[in-house]
Protein backbone atom coordinates (compact mmCIF):
# COMPACT_ATOMS: atom_id res chain seq x y z
CA UNK A 1 0.00 0.00 0.00
CA UNK A 2 1.42 3.37 -1.02
CA UNK A 3 2.36 5.98 1.57
CA UNK A 4 -0.19 8.41 0.15
CA UNK A 5 -2.94 5.85 0.49
CA UNK A 6 -1.97 5.10 4.07
CA UNK A 7 -2.07 8.83 4.82
CA UNK A 8 -5.50 9.12 3.24
CA UNK A 9 -6.84 6.21 5.26
CA UNK A 10 -5.34 7.65 8.45
CA UNK A 11 -7.00 11.01 7.77
CA UNK A 12 -10.35 9.32 7.11
CA UNK A 13 -9.96 7.30 10.30
CA UNK A 14 -9.12 10.40 12.31
CA UNK A 15 -12.14 12.16 10.86
CA UNK A 16 -14.42 9.24 11.70
CA UNK A 17 -12.98 9.13 15.23
CA UNK A 18 -13.52 12.85 15.64
CA UNK A 19 -17.12 12.48 14.51
CA UNK A 20 -17.76 9.61 16.92
CA UNK A 21 -16.01 11.17 19.91
CA UNK A 22 -17.63 14.55 19.42
CA UNK A 23 -21.01 12.98 20.16
CA UNK A 24 -22.66 13.84 16.88
CA UNK A 25 -25.13 11.62 15.09
CA UNK A 26 -26.13 10.78 11.58
CA UNK A 27 -29.43 11.81 10.03
CA UNK A 28 -32.07 14.12 11.41
CA UNK A 29 -32.40 12.38 14.76
CA UNK A 30 -35.36 11.45 16.92
CA UNK A 31 -38.67 13.27 16.99
CA UNK A 32 -39.92 15.15 20.01
CA UNK A 33 -43.53 15.04 21.17
CA UNK A 34 -45.98 17.84 20.46
CA UNK A 35 -46.07 20.59 17.87
CA UNK A 36 -43.94 23.69 17.60
CA UNK A 37 -45.58 26.86 16.33
CA UNK A 38 -44.13 29.57 14.14
CA UNK A 39 -45.62 33.06 13.93
CA UNK A 40 -44.38 35.80 11.63
CA UNK A 41 -45.52 39.36 12.19
CA UNK A 42 -44.36 42.87 11.54
CA UNK A 43 -44.43 46.19 13.40
CA UNK A 44 -44.41 44.85 16.96
CA UNK A 45 -46.96 42.17 16.12
CA UNK A 46 -49.46 44.65 14.63
CA UNK A 47 -49.74 42.68 11.39
CA UNK A 48 -49.61 38.90 11.19
CA UNK A 49 -47.90 37.70 8.01
CA UNK A 50 -47.78 33.93 8.42
CA UNK A 51 -48.35 31.14 10.86
CA UNK A 52 -47.29 27.51 10.75
CA UNK A 53 -47.12 24.43 12.91
CA UNK A 54 -44.41 21.81 12.89
CA UNK A 55 -45.58 18.47 14.23
CA UNK A 56 -43.02 16.49 16.23
CA UNK A 57 -39.82 18.38 15.41
CA UNK A 58 -36.67 16.25 15.21
CA UNK A 59 -33.32 16.64 16.95
CA UNK A 60 -31.91 18.52 13.97
CA UNK A 61 -34.75 21.05 13.71
CA UNK A 62 -33.63 24.59 14.38
CA UNK A 63 -35.41 27.92 14.19
CA UNK A 64 -33.81 28.68 10.83
CA UNK A 65 -34.83 25.32 9.33
CA UNK A 66 -38.39 25.73 10.56
CA UNK A 67 -38.56 29.23 9.07
CA UNK A 68 -36.90 28.11 5.84
CA UNK A 69 -39.63 25.52 5.25
CA UNK A 70 -42.45 28.03 5.48
CA UNK A 71 -41.20 31.20 3.80
CA UNK A 72 -38.59 32.57 1.41
CA UNK A 73 -35.66 33.84 3.39
CA UNK A 74 -32.33 35.47 2.79
CA UNK A 75 -29.66 35.10 5.40
CA UNK A 76 -26.33 36.59 6.33
CA UNK A 77 -23.48 35.35 8.46
CA UNK A 78 -23.93 31.69 7.43
CA UNK A 79 -27.63 31.65 8.13
CA UNK A 80 -27.27 33.01 11.64
CA UNK A 81 -28.92 36.32 10.82
CA UNK A 82 -32.12 36.56 8.80
CA UNK A 83 -31.97 39.54 6.49
CA UNK A 84 -35.21 39.10 4.63
CA UNK A 85 -38.44 37.13 4.94
CA UNK A 86 -40.74 36.92 1.92
CA UNK A 87 -39.05 39.98 0.45
CA UNK A 88 -39.36 42.15 3.57
CA UNK A 89 -35.78 43.13 4.11
CA UNK A 90 -33.89 44.71 6.97
CA UNK A 91 -33.13 48.32 6.08
CA UNK A 92 -32.52 51.84 7.23
CA UNK A 93 -35.40 54.04 6.13
CA UNK A 94 -35.47 57.77 6.84
CA UNK A 95 -32.88 57.34 9.53
CA UNK A 96 -34.76 54.54 11.29
CA UNK A 97 -33.55 50.95 11.46
CA UNK A 98 -35.76 47.98 10.67
CA UNK A 99 -34.84 44.33 11.06
CA UNK A 100 -36.12 40.88 11.81
CA UNK A 101 -35.97 39.64 15.41
CA UNK A 102 -37.20 36.42 16.88
CA UNK A 103 -38.54 35.36 20.23
CA UNK A 104 -38.22 31.83 21.42
CA UNK A 105 -40.92 31.01 23.96
CA UNK A 106 -41.39 34.70 24.66
CA UNK A 107 -37.71 35.48 25.13
CA UNK A 108 -35.70 37.47 22.59
CA UNK A 109 -32.96 35.20 21.37
CA UNK A 110 -29.42 36.38 21.90
CA UNK A 111 -28.05 33.65 19.62
CA UNK A 112 -28.48 33.06 15.90
CA UNK A 113 -31.50 31.26 14.50
CA UNK A 114 -29.28 28.41 13.30
CA UNK A 115 -28.19 27.64 16.85
CA UNK A 116 -31.59 27.44 18.55
CA UNK A 117 -33.06 23.95 18.51
CA UNK A 118 -36.81 23.53 18.29
CA UNK A 119 -38.72 20.92 20.26
CA UNK A 120 -42.41 20.02 20.51
CA UNK A 121 -44.39 22.76 22.29
CA UNK A 122 -41.93 25.56 21.50
CA UNK A 123 -43.24 28.85 20.18
CA UNK A 124 -41.15 30.78 17.70
CA UNK A 125 -42.19 34.33 16.87
CA UNK A 126 -40.46 36.39 14.17
CA UNK A 127 -41.22 40.09 14.10
CA UNK A 128 -40.02 42.81 11.73
CA UNK A 129 -39.76 46.04 13.63
CA UNK A 130 -38.27 49.48 14.01
CA UNK A 131 -35.57 49.04 16.61
CA UNK A 132 -34.18 52.55 16.58
CA UNK A 133 -35.44 53.37 20.06
CA UNK A 134 -35.20 49.94 21.63
CA UNK A 135 -32.54 47.63 20.27
CA UNK A 136 -33.49 44.97 22.77
CA UNK A 137 -36.88 43.93 23.97
CA UNK A 138 -35.62 41.02 26.06
CA UNK A 139 -39.00 39.46 26.78
CA UNK A 140 -42.55 39.75 25.49
CA UNK A 141 -46.00 38.60 26.58
CA UNK A 142 -47.15 37.56 23.09
CA UNK A 143 -46.28 33.87 23.40
CA UNK A 144 -48.50 33.22 26.46
CA UNK A 145 -48.49 30.71 28.19
CA UNK A 146 -44.80 30.70 27.35
CA UNK A 147 -42.26 31.02 28.82
CA UNK A 148 -44.02 29.51 31.84
CA UNK A 149 -45.30 26.28 30.28
CA UNK A 150 -42.07 25.09 28.69
CA UNK A 151 -40.05 26.13 31.75
CA UNK A 152 -42.24 24.13 34.10
CA UNK A 153 -42.32 21.01 31.93
CA UNK A 154 -38.57 20.74 31.34
CA UNK A 155 -36.68 17.83 32.85
CA UNK A 156 -35.06 20.40 35.14
CA UNK A 157 -38.08 22.67 35.70
CA UNK A 158 -37.71 26.34 36.57
CA UNK A 159 -39.78 27.49 39.51
CA UNK A 160 -42.69 29.82 38.65
CA UNK A 161 -43.38 32.33 41.43
CA UNK A 162 -46.24 34.82 41.72
CA UNK A 163 -44.92 37.61 43.92
CA UNK A 164 -47.70 39.50 45.63
CA UNK A 165 -47.32 43.26 46.15
CA UNK A 166 -50.54 44.16 47.97
CA UNK A 167 -53.82 42.26 47.98
CA UNK A 168 -53.58 38.48 47.74
CA UNK A 169 -56.76 38.02 45.73
CA UNK A 170 -55.40 39.10 42.29
CA UNK A 171 -52.28 37.01 42.91
CA UNK A 172 -54.37 33.91 43.42
CA UNK A 173 -56.26 34.64 40.24
CA UNK A 174 -52.95 34.86 38.41
CA UNK A 175 -51.94 31.50 39.85
CA UNK A 176 -55.30 30.05 38.74
CA UNK A 177 -54.81 31.41 35.22
CA UNK A 178 -51.43 29.70 35.10
CA UNK A 179 -52.97 26.49 36.43
CA UNK A 180 -55.52 26.62 33.59
CA UNK A 181 -52.55 26.47 31.22
CA UNK A 182 -51.02 23.54 33.14
CA UNK A 183 -48.39 25.70 34.81
CA UNK A 184 -47.78 25.10 38.48
CA UNK A 185 -46.96 28.28 40.39
CA UNK A 186 -46.70 29.39 43.99
CA UNK A 187 -47.97 32.66 45.49
CA UNK A 188 -45.43 34.34 47.70
CA UNK A 189 -44.63 37.67 49.27
CA UNK A 190 -41.80 39.50 47.51
CA UNK A 191 -38.42 38.27 48.63
CA UNK A 192 -35.06 37.51 47.16
CA UNK A 193 -35.27 33.73 46.88
CA UNK A 194 -32.02 33.47 44.92
CA UNK A 195 -31.51 30.93 42.16
CA UNK A 196 -33.37 30.86 38.89
CA UNK A 197 -37.09 31.42 38.87
CA UNK A 198 -39.73 32.86 36.60
CA UNK A 199 -41.46 35.66 38.44
CA UNK A 200 -44.83 37.35 37.98
CA UNK A 201 -44.95 40.55 40.00
CA UNK A 202 -48.58 41.33 40.81
CA UNK A 203 -49.77 44.53 42.52
CA UNK A 204 -50.32 48.28 42.17
CA UNK A 205 -47.43 50.20 40.63
CA UNK A 206 -46.90 52.28 43.79
CA UNK A 207 -45.78 49.10 45.58
CA UNK A 208 -44.43 47.06 42.71
CA UNK A 209 -41.92 49.75 41.66
CA UNK A 210 -39.83 48.85 44.72
CA UNK A 211 -38.63 45.79 42.81
CA UNK A 212 -35.30 46.76 41.18
CA UNK A 213 -36.12 45.21 37.81
CA UNK A 214 -39.67 46.60 37.70
CA UNK A 215 -38.28 50.00 38.74
CA UNK A 216 -36.23 50.17 35.53
CA UNK A 217 -39.53 50.68 33.65
CA UNK A 218 -39.09 54.39 34.50
CA UNK A 219 -35.95 54.51 32.33
CA UNK A 220 -37.86 54.00 29.12
CA UNK A 221 -37.85 51.34 26.39
CA UNK A 222 -34.16 51.71 25.64
CA UNK A 223 -33.40 50.17 29.03
CA UNK A 224 -36.54 48.23 29.95
CA UNK A 225 -37.60 47.10 26.47
CA UNK A 226 -41.19 48.07 27.40
CA UNK A 227 -42.97 50.91 25.60
CA UNK A 228 -44.95 52.01 28.64
CA UNK A 229 -44.21 53.70 31.94
CA UNK A 230 -45.99 55.05 34.97
CA UNK A 231 -45.88 58.76 35.82
CA UNK A 232 -46.66 60.29 39.19
CA UNK A 233 -49.55 62.74 39.01
CA UNK A 234 -49.57 66.06 40.75
CA UNK A 235 -51.68 65.70 43.84
CA UNK A 236 -50.93 62.00 44.21
CA UNK A 237 -51.69 58.85 42.28
CA UNK A 238 -50.24 57.44 39.08
CA UNK A 239 -51.00 57.52 35.39
CA UNK A 240 -50.04 54.93 32.80
CA UNK A 241 -48.23 56.40 29.79
CA UNK A 242 -48.26 54.30 26.63
CA UNK A 243 -45.51 55.05 24.13
CA UNK A 244 -45.36 54.68 20.39
CA UNK A 245 -42.43 53.01 18.57
CA UNK A 246 -40.55 56.34 18.66
CA UNK A 247 -40.73 56.19 22.48
CA UNK A 248 -42.99 59.25 22.58
CA UNK A 249 -46.06 59.34 24.82
CA UNK A 250 -49.03 58.44 22.64
CA UNK A 251 -51.69 57.91 25.29
CA UNK A 252 -52.19 58.45 28.98
CA UNK A 253 -54.57 56.51 31.16
CA UNK A 254 -55.59 57.38 34.68
CA UNK A 255 -57.71 55.38 37.15
CA UNK A 256 -58.41 51.72 36.41
CA UNK A 257 -55.55 51.29 33.93
CA UNK A 258 -53.42 48.17 34.07
CA UNK A 259 -50.36 46.81 32.30
CA UNK A 260 -49.06 43.35 31.47
CA UNK A 261 -45.43 43.51 30.36
CA UNK A 262 -42.36 41.30 30.41
CA UNK A 263 -38.82 42.27 31.35
CA UNK A 264 -35.57 40.47 31.79
CA UNK A 265 -32.49 41.03 33.86
CA UNK A 266 -29.49 39.91 31.81
CA UNK A 267 -29.61 36.19 31.15
CA UNK A 268 -32.01 35.51 34.03
CA UNK A 269 -35.45 34.05 33.27
CA UNK A 270 -38.03 36.73 32.38
CA UNK A 271 -40.11 38.60 34.93
CA UNK A 272 -43.67 39.61 34.10
CA UNK A 273 -45.35 42.69 35.52
CA UNK A 274 -49.09 42.43 36.18
CA UNK A 275 -49.73 45.86 37.54
CA UNK A 276 -51.91 48.96 37.39
CA UNK A 277 -52.21 52.55 38.49
CA UNK A 278 -54.51 51.36 41.30
CA UNK A 279 -56.22 48.17 42.57
CA UNK A 280 -58.82 48.31 39.80
CA UNK A 281 -56.02 48.57 37.26
CA UNK A 282 -54.37 45.45 38.69
CA UNK A 283 -57.67 43.58 38.31
CA UNK A 284 -57.88 44.73 34.69
CA UNK A 285 -54.33 43.52 34.09
CA UNK A 286 -55.05 40.10 35.63
CA UNK A 287 -58.04 39.73 33.33
CA UNK A 288 -55.69 40.20 30.36
CA UNK A 289 -53.82 36.96 31.11
CA UNK A 290 -55.30 35.12 28.18
CA UNK A 291 -54.01 34.25 24.72
CA UNK A 292 -56.90 36.22 23.20
CA UNK A 293 -55.46 39.44 24.61
CA UNK A 294 -51.76 38.69 24.69
CA UNK A 295 -51.02 36.87 21.42
CA UNK A 296 -48.49 38.61 19.14
CA UNK A 297 -48.09 41.53 21.52
CA UNK A 298 -45.01 42.89 23.21
CA UNK A 299 -47.05 44.25 26.13
CA UNK A 300 -50.71 45.03 26.74
CA UNK A 301 -52.40 47.89 28.57
CA UNK A 302 -55.91 47.42 29.96
CA UNK A 303 -58.20 50.38 30.59
CA UNK A 304 -61.82 51.39 30.67
CA UNK A 305 -62.01 51.50 26.87
CA UNK A 306 -60.66 47.97 26.43
CA UNK A 307 -57.08 46.89 25.79
CA UNK A 308 -54.24 48.46 23.81
CA UNK A 309 -51.19 46.77 22.33
CA UNK A 310 -47.94 48.41 23.32
CA UNK A 311 -46.16 50.17 21.60
CA UNK A 312 -49.16 52.14 20.42
CA UNK A 313 -49.94 52.40 16.69
CA UNK A 314 -46.76 50.72 15.55
CA UNK A 315 -48.23 49.79 12.16
CA UNK A 316 -45.88 51.21 9.53
Amino acid sequence: MSRRRIRGLAAAGAFALAVVTSGCGLGEGESSQGAATLTITRDYGAQRLAEATEAEPTDSDTVIRMLDREVEIETRYSGGFVQSIDGIEGEIDAGRSFDWFFFFNGIESSTGAAEVEVRGGDRVWWDYRDWTDALRTPAVVGSWPEPFLQASTESDPIEVRVECFGRRDPCERVRDRLADEAVKASVETPHDAGGRSLRLLVGPWAQLRSDPLAGSLDQGPEVSGVFARFAQRQGGGWSLELLDEHASVARQHLGGAGLVAAMRDGEQPPTWLVTGVDAAGVDEAVAMLDADYLSDRYAVAAHAGGETAVPVGALR
Binding site: G23, C24, G29, T62, R65, D68, S78, G79, E115
Partner: protein
Amino acid sequence: MRSAIAYSPKPGAFGRVGALAASVYLGSLAVAAFVYSNPLVLAALAAATVVAGLLCGAGRALKTSARWAAILGVFIVAVNAIASQRGDTVLVRGWELPVLGQLDVSGEALIEGGLLALRIGVVLGIFAIHSACVDPDRIMRLLRPLARHSAMTASLVTRLVPLAAADHARLREAAALRGPGAAAVGRAAIVRRLVAGSLDRAVDVAAALELRGYAHGAPRRSGSQRRSRHDWRFAAAGIAIVVVAASARIAGVGDFNAYPTTELDARMPTLALALALPVLAALPFAGLERAKSSSRASRERRG
Protein backbone atom coordinates in the same frame (compact mmCIF):
# COMPACT_ATOMS: atom_id res chain seq x y z
CA MET B 1 9.62 26.77 -17.32
CA ARG B 2 7.00 29.21 -18.52
CA SER B 3 3.74 29.15 -16.60
CA ALA B 4 0.81 27.55 -18.41
CA ILE B 5 -1.32 30.62 -17.92
CA ALA B 6 1.35 33.10 -19.05
CA TYR B 7 0.58 34.81 -22.35
CA SER B 8 2.11 33.48 -25.49
CA PRO B 9 0.98 34.34 -29.03
CA LYS B 10 -1.43 31.70 -30.25
CA PRO B 11 -1.45 30.55 -33.87
CA GLY B 12 -5.21 30.18 -34.35
CA ALA B 13 -7.89 32.74 -35.16
CA PHE B 14 -8.30 33.76 -31.53
CA GLY B 15 -4.66 34.85 -31.45
CA ARG B 16 -5.46 37.54 -34.03
CA VAL B 17 -8.52 38.82 -32.22
CA GLY B 18 -8.24 42.22 -30.53
CA ALA B 19 -8.08 42.46 -26.75
CA LEU B 20 -11.48 44.12 -26.45
CA ALA B 21 -13.31 41.51 -28.53
CA ALA B 22 -11.51 38.66 -26.76
CA SER B 23 -12.36 40.13 -23.35
CA VAL B 24 -16.00 40.62 -24.31
CA TYR B 25 -16.20 37.05 -25.56
CA LEU B 26 -14.57 35.43 -22.52
CA GLY B 27 -16.09 37.91 -20.05
CA SER B 28 -19.60 37.01 -21.26
CA LEU B 29 -19.08 33.44 -20.05
CA ALA B 30 -17.97 34.71 -16.64
CA VAL B 31 -21.00 37.00 -16.42
CA ALA B 32 -23.31 34.09 -17.23
CA ALA B 33 -21.60 31.99 -14.55
CA PHE B 34 -22.36 34.65 -11.95
CA VAL B 35 -25.97 35.03 -13.09
CA TYR B 36 -26.91 31.36 -12.73
CA SER B 37 -26.78 28.85 -9.87
CA ASN B 38 -28.60 26.12 -11.75
CA PRO B 39 -26.19 23.14 -12.04
CA LEU B 40 -27.34 22.36 -15.58
CA VAL B 41 -26.50 25.87 -16.74
CA LEU B 42 -23.24 25.93 -14.79
CA ALA B 43 -22.25 22.57 -16.27
CA ALA B 44 -23.08 23.96 -19.72
CA LEU B 45 -20.91 27.00 -19.01
CA ALA B 46 -18.11 24.70 -17.89
CA ALA B 47 -18.47 22.85 -21.19
CA ALA B 48 -18.50 26.17 -23.06
CA THR B 49 -15.32 27.21 -21.24
CA VAL B 50 -13.59 23.95 -22.16
CA VAL B 51 -14.72 24.29 -25.79
CA ALA B 52 -13.52 27.90 -25.93
CA GLY B 53 -10.24 27.04 -24.21
CA LEU B 54 -9.45 24.17 -26.56
CA LEU B 55 -10.37 26.15 -29.67
CA CYS B 56 -8.26 29.06 -28.43
CA GLY B 57 -5.32 26.74 -27.98
CA ALA B 58 -5.23 27.15 -24.21
CA GLY B 59 -5.52 23.49 -23.25
CA ARG B 60 -2.57 23.69 -20.85
CA ALA B 61 -3.96 26.77 -19.16
CA LEU B 62 -7.30 25.02 -18.76
CA LYS B 63 -5.64 21.99 -17.22
CA THR B 64 -3.74 24.14 -14.74
CA SER B 65 -6.85 26.10 -13.78
CA ALA B 66 -8.79 22.85 -13.38
CA ARG B 67 -6.15 21.64 -10.91
CA TRP B 68 -6.41 24.85 -8.88
CA ALA B 69 -10.20 24.76 -9.09
CA ALA B 70 -10.27 21.18 -7.80
CA ILE B 71 -8.16 22.06 -4.75
CA LEU B 72 -10.13 25.24 -4.11
CA GLY B 73 -13.38 23.38 -4.68
CA VAL B 74 -12.66 20.87 -1.92
CA PHE B 75 -12.15 23.76 0.50
CA ILE B 76 -15.27 25.57 -0.67
CA VAL B 77 -17.44 22.47 -0.24
CA ALA B 78 -15.98 21.77 3.22
CA VAL B 79 -16.34 25.35 4.40
CA ASN B 80 -19.88 25.69 3.05
CA ALA B 81 -20.90 22.43 4.70
CA ILE B 82 -19.71 23.78 8.03
CA ALA B 83 -20.76 27.39 7.59
CA SER B 84 -24.25 26.94 6.17
CA GLN B 85 -26.64 25.68 8.79
CA ARG B 86 -29.62 25.49 6.45
CA GLY B 87 -31.05 22.50 4.59
CA ASP B 88 -33.55 19.83 5.55
CA THR B 89 -31.52 16.75 4.67
CA VAL B 90 -29.31 16.59 7.73
CA LEU B 91 -26.47 14.13 7.23
CA VAL B 92 -24.37 14.77 10.34
CA ARG B 93 -26.04 16.21 13.42
CA GLY B 94 -24.62 18.00 16.43
CA TRP B 95 -20.99 18.11 15.33
CA GLU B 96 -19.13 19.96 18.04
CA LEU B 97 -16.21 22.02 16.73
CA PRO B 98 -13.93 24.28 18.76
CA VAL B 99 -14.86 27.96 18.46
CA LEU B 100 -17.64 27.26 15.94
CA GLY B 101 -19.77 25.34 18.42
CA GLN B 102 -22.34 22.74 17.47
CA LEU B 103 -22.87 22.26 13.75
CA ASP B 104 -24.98 20.19 11.39
CA VAL B 105 -23.93 19.13 7.91
CA SER B 106 -26.77 18.98 5.41
CA GLY B 107 -26.93 17.54 1.93
CA GLU B 108 -28.18 20.88 0.61
CA ALA B 109 -25.16 22.70 2.03
CA LEU B 110 -22.87 20.20 0.28
CA ILE B 111 -24.73 20.69 -3.00
CA GLU B 112 -24.58 24.48 -2.67
CA GLY B 113 -20.86 24.24 -1.90
CA GLY B 114 -20.34 22.04 -4.96
CA LEU B 115 -22.10 24.57 -7.16
CA LEU B 116 -20.08 27.43 -5.72
CA ALA B 117 -16.94 25.42 -6.48
CA LEU B 118 -18.16 24.75 -10.02
CA ARG B 119 -18.82 28.44 -10.56
CA ILE B 120 -15.35 29.33 -9.25
CA GLY B 121 -13.89 26.63 -11.51
CA VAL B 122 -15.63 28.11 -14.57
CA VAL B 123 -14.44 31.63 -13.75
CA LEU B 124 -10.89 30.42 -13.06
CA GLY B 125 -10.89 28.61 -16.38
CA ILE B 126 -12.09 31.72 -18.21
CA PHE B 127 -9.40 33.88 -16.61
CA ALA B 128 -6.76 31.26 -17.37
CA ILE B 129 -7.75 31.29 -21.06
CA HIS B 130 -7.77 35.08 -21.05
CA SER B 131 -4.38 35.21 -19.42
CA ALA B 132 -2.90 32.68 -21.80
CA CYS B 133 -4.41 34.01 -25.03
CA VAL B 134 -4.87 37.75 -24.71
CA ASP B 135 -1.81 39.97 -24.95
CA PRO B 136 -1.61 41.92 -21.64
CA ASP B 137 -0.04 44.88 -23.46
CA ARG B 138 -3.13 45.22 -25.60
CA ILE B 139 -5.28 45.15 -22.47
CA MET B 140 -3.14 47.92 -20.98
CA ARG B 141 -3.49 49.91 -24.19
CA LEU B 142 -7.25 49.55 -23.90
CA LEU B 143 -7.17 50.87 -20.36
CA ARG B 144 -4.84 53.78 -21.09
CA PRO B 145 -7.56 56.31 -22.02
CA LEU B 146 -9.46 55.43 -18.82
CA ALA B 147 -6.64 55.31 -16.28
CA ARG B 148 -3.31 56.34 -17.77
CA HIS B 149 -1.24 56.10 -14.61
CA SER B 150 -2.74 52.79 -13.52
CA ALA B 151 -2.24 51.33 -16.99
CA MET B 152 1.37 52.49 -16.97
CA THR B 153 1.95 51.05 -13.49
CA ALA B 154 0.35 47.75 -14.45
CA SER B 155 2.41 47.60 -17.65
CA LEU B 156 5.59 48.10 -15.67
CA VAL B 157 4.61 45.56 -13.07
CA THR B 158 3.86 42.93 -15.70
CA ARG B 159 7.42 43.37 -16.93
CA LEU B 160 9.33 44.00 -13.75
CA VAL B 161 7.89 41.18 -11.66
CA PRO B 162 9.04 38.42 -14.07
CA LEU B 163 12.41 40.19 -14.26
CA ALA B 164 12.68 40.15 -10.47
CA ALA B 165 11.76 36.45 -10.46
CA ALA B 166 14.47 35.76 -13.05
CA ASP B 167 16.97 37.78 -10.98
CA HIS B 168 16.08 35.73 -7.94
CA ALA B 169 16.63 32.48 -9.84
CA ARG B 170 20.00 33.74 -11.11
CA LEU B 171 21.15 34.88 -7.67
CA ARG B 172 20.14 31.58 -6.11
CA GLU B 173 21.91 29.64 -8.82
CA ALA B 174 25.02 31.76 -8.43
CA ALA B 175 25.00 31.17 -4.68
CA ALA B 176 24.70 27.41 -5.21
CA LEU B 177 27.58 27.40 -7.66
CA ARG B 178 30.06 28.83 -5.17
CA GLY B 179 30.98 25.30 -4.21
CA PRO B 180 30.52 23.13 -1.13
CA GLY B 181 33.29 24.93 0.80
CA ALA B 182 31.60 28.32 0.62
CA ALA B 183 29.39 29.56 3.42
CA ALA B 184 25.69 29.07 2.80
CA VAL B 185 23.90 32.17 1.52
CA GLY B 186 20.73 32.81 3.49
CA ARG B 187 17.43 33.84 2.01
CA ALA B 188 17.66 37.27 3.64
CA ALA B 189 20.94 38.01 1.82
CA ILE B 190 19.45 37.07 -1.53
CA VAL B 191 16.36 39.17 -0.89
CA ARG B 192 18.60 42.13 0.10
CA ARG B 193 20.50 41.88 -3.21
CA LEU B 194 17.27 41.43 -5.08
CA VAL B 195 15.71 44.56 -3.57
CA ALA B 196 18.89 46.57 -4.24
CA GLY B 197 18.91 45.38 -7.86
CA SER B 198 15.21 46.16 -8.25
CA LEU B 199 15.69 49.69 -6.94
CA ASP B 200 18.56 50.26 -9.39
CA ARG B 201 16.39 49.01 -12.20
CA ALA B 202 13.47 51.16 -11.07
CA VAL B 203 15.69 54.25 -11.25
CA ASP B 204 16.81 53.28 -14.76
CA VAL B 205 13.21 52.73 -15.86
CA ALA B 206 12.15 56.08 -14.41
CA ALA B 207 15.00 57.82 -16.28
CA ALA B 208 14.06 56.08 -19.52
CA LEU B 209 10.42 57.11 -19.13
CA GLU B 210 11.46 60.68 -18.41
CA LEU B 211 13.66 60.78 -21.53
CA ARG B 212 10.88 59.43 -23.67
CA GLY B 213 8.61 62.23 -22.51
CA TYR B 214 6.12 60.24 -20.44
CA ALA B 215 5.98 63.09 -17.93
CA HIS B 216 4.28 65.30 -20.55
CA GLY B 217 1.06 63.33 -20.69
CA ALA B 218 -0.17 60.46 -22.76
CA PRO B 219 1.56 59.89 -26.07
CA ARG B 220 -0.56 60.72 -29.06
CA ARG B 221 -2.04 57.80 -30.87
CA SER B 222 0.04 56.82 -33.82
CA GLY B 223 -3.12 56.03 -35.73
CA SER B 224 -6.27 54.07 -35.17
CA GLN B 225 -5.64 50.39 -34.75
CA ARG B 226 -7.33 48.29 -37.32
CA ARG B 227 -9.64 45.73 -35.96
CA SER B 228 -9.12 42.14 -37.02
CA ARG B 229 -11.86 40.76 -39.26
CA HIS B 230 -12.48 38.19 -36.53
CA ASP B 231 -13.15 40.81 -33.84
CA TRP B 232 -16.78 41.32 -34.71
CA ARG B 233 -17.45 37.59 -34.65
CA PHE B 234 -16.13 37.13 -31.12
CA ALA B 235 -17.63 40.36 -29.83
CA ALA B 236 -21.01 39.37 -31.31
CA ALA B 237 -20.77 35.91 -29.74
CA GLY B 238 -19.97 37.47 -26.36
CA ILE B 239 -22.86 39.91 -26.59
CA ALA B 240 -25.17 37.08 -27.70
CA ILE B 241 -24.15 34.97 -24.70
CA VAL B 242 -24.86 37.86 -22.29
CA VAL B 243 -28.17 38.73 -23.94
CA VAL B 244 -29.38 35.12 -24.02
CA ALA B 245 -28.27 34.45 -20.44
CA ALA B 246 -29.71 37.68 -19.05
CA SER B 247 -33.03 37.51 -20.90
CA ALA B 248 -33.51 33.86 -19.94
CA ARG B 249 -32.79 34.76 -16.32
CA ILE B 250 -35.30 37.61 -16.41
CA ALA B 251 -37.85 35.21 -17.92
CA GLY B 252 -37.33 32.90 -14.94
CA VAL B 253 -35.43 30.20 -16.81
CA GLY B 254 -32.88 28.14 -14.86
CA ASP B 255 -34.22 28.68 -11.36
CA PHE B 256 -32.45 26.92 -8.57
CA ASN B 257 -33.06 26.84 -4.83
CA ALA B 258 -30.62 25.08 -2.56
CA TYR B 259 -32.74 25.48 0.58
CA PRO B 260 -34.65 24.13 2.41
CA THR B 261 -34.61 21.25 -0.08
CA THR B 262 -32.84 21.38 -3.42
CA GLU B 263 -35.17 22.47 -6.22
CA LEU B 264 -33.87 22.40 -9.74
CA ASP B 265 -35.54 23.78 -12.84
CA ALA B 266 -34.86 21.15 -15.52
CA ARG B 267 -37.63 22.12 -17.90
CA MET B 268 -37.17 22.50 -21.65
CA PRO B 269 -36.24 26.20 -21.66
CA THR B 270 -33.44 25.49 -19.15
CA LEU B 271 -32.19 22.54 -21.17
CA ALA B 272 -32.33 24.67 -24.32
CA LEU B 273 -30.31 27.37 -22.58
CA ALA B 274 -27.79 24.78 -21.39
CA LEU B 275 -27.43 23.59 -24.97
CA ALA B 276 -27.27 27.07 -26.45
CA LEU B 277 -24.40 28.37 -24.31
CA PRO B 278 -21.67 25.95 -25.52
CA VAL B 279 -22.96 26.30 -29.08
CA LEU B 280 -22.76 30.10 -28.88
CA ALA B 281 -19.28 29.81 -27.39
CA ALA B 282 -18.13 27.56 -30.26
CA LEU B 283 -19.91 29.49 -33.01
CA PRO B 284 -17.28 32.16 -33.73
CA PHE B 285 -14.71 29.43 -34.36
CA ALA B 286 -16.87 27.35 -36.63
CA GLY B 287 -16.67 29.49 -39.78
CA LEU B 288 -12.99 30.15 -39.21
CA GLU B 289 -12.18 26.48 -39.13
CA ARG B 290 -14.06 26.03 -42.39
CA ALA B 291 -12.29 28.98 -43.94
CA LYS B 292 -8.95 27.65 -42.81
CA SER B 293 -9.60 24.14 -44.09
CA SER B 294 -11.03 25.43 -47.39
CA SER B 295 -8.02 27.67 -47.98
CA ARG B 296 -5.75 24.74 -47.14
CA ALA B 297 -7.75 22.60 -49.56
CA SER B 298 -7.42 25.20 -52.33
CA ARG B 299 -3.68 25.43 -51.62
CA GLU B 300 -3.48 21.66 -51.87
CA ARG B 301 -5.45 21.76 -55.11
CA ARG B 302 -3.13 24.40 -56.47
CA GLY B 303 -0.12 22.43 -55.28
